[in-house]
């Protein structure tokens, strides 16, 4: 591919903006705390990864601060930060700019809040903007409205592969010549009672570490017991390599390839053989004319669920063969939590920060690995490393699999 990333905007539980996010990754900070957005007393899991340093008024007009759903506010903030990072004050031609964002929970939290108002206080108390805000497309259209993007503007919703898919599809739009720039990534803000309760009911979230929140997200560990739900956004400015060079833009990474497949088997988990999941990774490498031996680092989906971690480890054994035990693989969900549809974008951001600055983001809380998880997971602390090629994987409900491969640009500073 000839698509490059020239800017990134992160709004995450461990920091907002590239410098803060990068510093927290390097320090190995946990963004998990006792849930404060609402009373978690009635739930088995009582911790979450909340974005705590976000001030919507820093990124948008005050009228939007009051009324816009949080998931869209996080997206707008991420997109604005990405534009600043790409040194773009305005688009050269706004008609050639697209927005393609992923979300899973989307406007679900907003719908729940308004649903409560409807039931408890009646129809006249409902927000009259509800129809415009209650669909998942609002996260992309709001970015377009506030950042003057007049090209194709849409939202992808494919569970936890949403933002990985959005970035992959954005590359296709660029390569087809449909747009010159595209804001691609994802946003999710699921920390509202109904969505939180649904994952609690599913038994998918960590529940044994309520008294030690920062230890609750434990990917690949023998004593892991589920993911920590989080919120945040990751948005990138994508453009063709030639255009970025013409305008002397800082190139953070090249997107080498994208693969997406579906097991077409289960609602919640991947199919045990991992055939289709492996195919997604192989396809992403193939698009970049890369072999598994070229990969220096893997940012895994690494949810810390019983199902995901051994499954994903087996995929990496299959793809990387004898080299697998020596290949660094980490899960930054140990720091930022599981951002659902935004996870792929934020994890790609972590991967690119590591590539750009020369370190491997760690997997926190990996005191004792699950015997079925036998790779080098960069436990506890970040590690200096040269990363030229990296893989980021995402898996989602509906047995979806997605992979992105990124490469360090030739002229990276």
């Amino acid at each position: 591919m000839a698509v490059v990333i020239t800017g990134m905007g992160c709004v995450t539980p461990i920091g907002t903006g590239r410098p803060a996010f990068s510093a927290a990754l390097r320090r190995g900070e946990s963004g998990t705390r006792r849930l404060s957005r609402f009373d978690p007393g009635g739930y088995e899991c009582q911790v979450a990864a909340e974005v705590v340093d976000f001030r919507a008024e820093d990124f948008m007009p005050l009228r939007e601060v009051r009324s816009l759903p949080r998931v869209a506010q996080l997206a707008v903030a991420g997109a604005r930060l990405a534009m600043e990072d790409a040194r773009l004050r305005a688009w050269p031609d706004p008609t050639r700019v697209g927005v393609l964002l992923g979300t899973s929970g989307g406007s679900g939290s907003y719908q729940f809040e308004q649903g409560l108002i409807f039931v408890e206080r009646g129809v006249r108390r409902m927000h009259p903007s509800f129809p415009a805000y209650a669909h998942n497309g609002v996260i992309a259209s709001e970015c377009a409205i506030q950042l003057d993007a007049h090209g194709p503007v849409f939202t992808v919703s494919s569970a936890c592969t949403s933002s990985t898919d959005a970035i992959g599809l954005a590359c296709a739009l660029l390569e087809a010549g449909t747009v010159d720039f595209i804001l691609a990534g994802g946003s999710d803000a699921p920390l509202a009672p109904l969505l939180f309760a649904s994952f609690d009911r599913l038994g998918a979230m960590a529940r044994r570490f309520n008294d030690r929140p920062e230890q609750a997200s434990r990917p690949f560990a023998a004593d892991r017991d589920g993911f920590v739900l989080g919120e945040g956004a990751g948005v990138f400015v994508l453009e063709k390599r030639e255009r970025a060079r013409e305008r002397s833009a800082p190139i953070l990474a090249e997107i080498a390839g994208y693969g997406a497949t579906c097991d077409a088997a289960h609602h919640f988990t991947q199919e045990e053989s991992g055939v289709d999941a492996t195919r997604a990774v192989v396809e992403a490498l193939r698009q970049g004319n890369l072999s598994p031996d070229d990969v220096d680092y893997v940012n895994a989906h690494g949810t810390a669920t019983a199902q995901n971690d051994p499954f994903e480890t087996a995929i990496f054994h299959r793809v990387f063969g004898e080299r697998a035990p020596r290949l660094p693989v980490s899960s930054t969900k140990s720091m930022v939590g599981h951002l659902l549809g935004a996870c792929g974008a934020v994890e790609l951001a972590a991967t690119i920060v590591g590539m750009h600055e020369g370190f491997l983001p760690p997997t926190l809380n990996l005191d004792e690995p699950d015997p079925a998880c036998d790779l080098d997971y960069v436990a506890h602390r970040a590690r200096p490393a040269q990363i030229d090629v990296a893989l980021s994987t995402s898996f989602g409900f509906g047995s979806r699999n997605a992979a992105l491969v990124v490469r360090k640009p030739d002229d990276a500073g």
Binding site: L62, R63, R66, S67, R125, H127, P128, S129
Partner: protein, 83 residues
């Protein structure tokens, strides 16, 4: 009710319509002169309730068209239940 109801109403309308407070203060018709539509009006009324901790009877205020009238209703409003 706070004495600065007019100031609050003016400020919240100015935020919603993205225009200077002076223009809102001098307007004789919010709808006709400033183009405030029903969605903007609802946003302003909900913002007033939230900021001033009052509960408005929406039927009493939705048709109002100038700042002084809205402020008069706001001054008479009862505090939010439970606050």
């Amino acid at each position: 009710m706070p004495a600065d109801a007019v100031d609050t109403v003016v400020r919240l309308i100015a935020i919603e319509l993205e225009m200077p407070e002076d223009r809102v203060r001098s307007a004789t018709s919010l709808r006709g002169e400033l183009g405030m539509d029903s969605i903007a009006a609802a946003n302003v009324l909900f913002a007033i309730e939230e900021e001033l901790g009052v509960e408005l009877v929406l039927e009493d205020v939705e048709h109002l068209d100038d700042v002084a009238e809205i402020a008069r209703v706001v001054r008479r409003a009862r505090p939010t239940t439970g606050s």
